[in-house]
Amino acid sequence: MTKLPRWADVVLVPLISLLLAGIISALVILAIGQSPSEALKVMVDGAVGSPYGWGYTLYYATSFIFTGLAVTVAFHASLFNIGGEGQAQLGGLGVALVCLALPWPHWTLALPAAMIGGALFGAAWAAIPAYLQAKRGSHIVITTIMFNYIAAALLIYILVEHLRPPSSMDPASARFGAGTDLPTLHEIPGLSLIFTKQVPANVTLFVALLACWLVWLLLWRTRLGYEIRAFGKSEPAALYAGIKPVRVTMIAMLISGALAGLMSINNVMGESGRLLQNSSEGAGFIGIAVALMGRNHPLGVFLAAILFGFLYQGGAELGLWTSIPIELRTVVQGLVILFTGALDHMVRMMLGLFFRPKARAA
């Protein structure tokens, strides 16, 4: 593999990948007879051109931070957790059960409880694939895919048969009590000067930022994180160092699942205020793109999550104001994953062409 300076590896590779994805997307837009520059303008205006747009961009980014971190933690243990989607949905169930269980007097009490509920359910959904990987060698990618589908089916069953209020027709739970309403940015003193209207971004954003910092601490400042990273780099070496593969696999996946589950306080508790079918809307999958783009570092995940928040809100605006279908964002998402995750050697080789002559001259 071409050796690049560290900064190029960390900054340039994702940026070039993004650029490539952007160029191809632009070509796609051209091919369907639209103007890429117009599309970009609509996206920028819609996503970051107003506090309203930011309210949505940050809302999506909050979810993506959690799922991006979830994928990141697993990646460091060399586990590719595609199950973020299912874990997030189960996390949503956990959040909903907590919110519906008690007449919560105030959100400050409901939030920690709901976080525990979401994290526990998310972790539980990751536990079986983790156990099968650790103990029986079943490939975690396949099992987590299967668990995504099982989660979707389970959730439909629970929503339709158990959580749906008798009089209601949609497969959704009852609305949570007023005591579980999380303050949105519009209701937070100080920020309310910027966000003058109801936006979905809520206090969960700060929980997400805290999670970034905690994951960074975990991975680079604790023994457990050290073991996770060592295990992820080389299993035989980890064994030599006395690191227990089963333990690390289980813990890394449980943390990953818990983070994915935690996402649900943003959408289920913070935004919709009830559990809907497919509440996570693919955020679990976007976590893969976010983690790859963010180079598996919490800071990178944060930046990539903002970028994807922009892409999601901007994409929604595209669907609203232009005749470019909203699916464009799925294409960009796929391309980013492709370039940063699967074709990174190609991107490196391209970059290497620029770096080699300089290195020789030096």
Binding site: L217, T222, L239
Partner: protein, 307 residues
């Protein structure tokens, strides 16, 4: 040496000498490379034997493919003694070393200072072995001994990351302490370049090995397991590594040395055991044997057969 006309020697990042191949000798080149005359033989005094440190009785190892790799061997090592295991690669030495180092399962009895080691249960891992005072320099350092993508300082904590000296509190590791410790180790073991934040893969083989040795030897272990200490290591480092191993033995510690280099075994060991097909074919005193005899044992021919 056979295909070149001239040889240039690089040392510490500088071209230090260029000589005509036909005018030089291996000894001279070696000297140029390390900057001083190489000790061709390891200078070591007679062993000061102490109590028995390691006792191995009837040890058997069966690998994942159900092949018996070690077929019931027994031996002892005393304090202040280097036991060299000679043998052609693949005759069970690696498995012996790994089982003693804490991975893989085995049957039989192994005692360290009279205390029996767990060979199958939860205490049969690298962590527990280290706690008991067994240090292990594995044969395949790039694959087992360190994490190539980790920085030098992270590799210095490798296996010892639970050491209380490396912890800030019950939750967080003290990275500064590890960095500081690494600086000292790099200095004392002459690791070049002495930059603790450099990734392990950026060091030469010899310097990688020095990092591992610094990590394991400076723990002052009761028993040092060391496999192929100088494989792929530059000539200056070989001398340095040998010296350090002998120093440890002189400090009254037991050393189990596995190497496929017969020269290395002969010059370092106080006693030589030869392994063939998972068994110990015989033990020899390095001063009273020769390469031919050892070679025959390594081929599975015992003295009786030869006679």
């Amino acid at each position: 040496m056979e295909i070149t006309d001239t040889v240039s020697v690089m040392r510490r990042g500088e071209m230090t000498a260029t000589v005509k191949t036909k005018d030089t000798s291996p000894e001279e080149l070696a000297e140029l490379m390390v900057g001083r005359k190489v000790l061709l033989d390891v200078a070591k005094g007679p062993a000061q034997l102490g109590k028995v440190v390691l006792e191995v009785e009837n040890l058997r190892v069966v690998d994942e493919d159900k092949v018996e790799r070690v077929k019931g061997i027994s031996f002892q090592i005393r304090a202040g003694e280097i036991l060299g295991i000679a043998g052609v690669a693949g005759n069970g030495q690696s498995e012996l070393l790994e089982v003693l180092g804490g991975f893989g399962r085995a049957t039989g009895t192994v005692r360290l200072n009279g205390e029996e080691l767990d060979l199958t249960g939860t205490k049969s891992d690298g962590q527990s072995r280290r706690e008991k005072g067994i240090a292990h320099v594995p044969e395949d350092r790039q694959h087992l001994g360190m994490i190539m993508d980790f920085a030098a300082w992270e590799n210095v904590a490798f296996g010892y990351h639970n050491d209380p000296a490396y912890q800030k509190n019950s939750l967080l590791m003290d990275n500064d302490a590890i960095l500081e410790d690494t600086k000292g180790k790099m200095e004392r073991f002459d690791v070049r370049p002495p930059i603790p934040t450099l990734a392990a893969k950026s060091f030469s083989g010899g310097n990688q090995q020095k990092i591992i040795l610094a990590r394991e030897i400076e723990r002052n272990p009761e028993l040092l397991l060391v496999g192929q200490p100088t494989r792929g290591v530059d000539i200056g480092a070989i001398e340095f590594i040998h010296k350090r191993i002998v120093e440890l033995r002189d400090a009254g510690k037991a050393v189990l040395l596995v190497s496929v280099e017969l020269d290395e075994i002969m010059s370092l060991s106080d006693r030589i055991a030869v392994m063939f097909d998972g068994r110990i074919m015989g033990e020899r005193d390095p001063d009273k044997t020769n390469e031919r005899e050892l070679g025959l044992l390594m081929a599975g021919v015992t003295g009786k057969d030869a006679a």
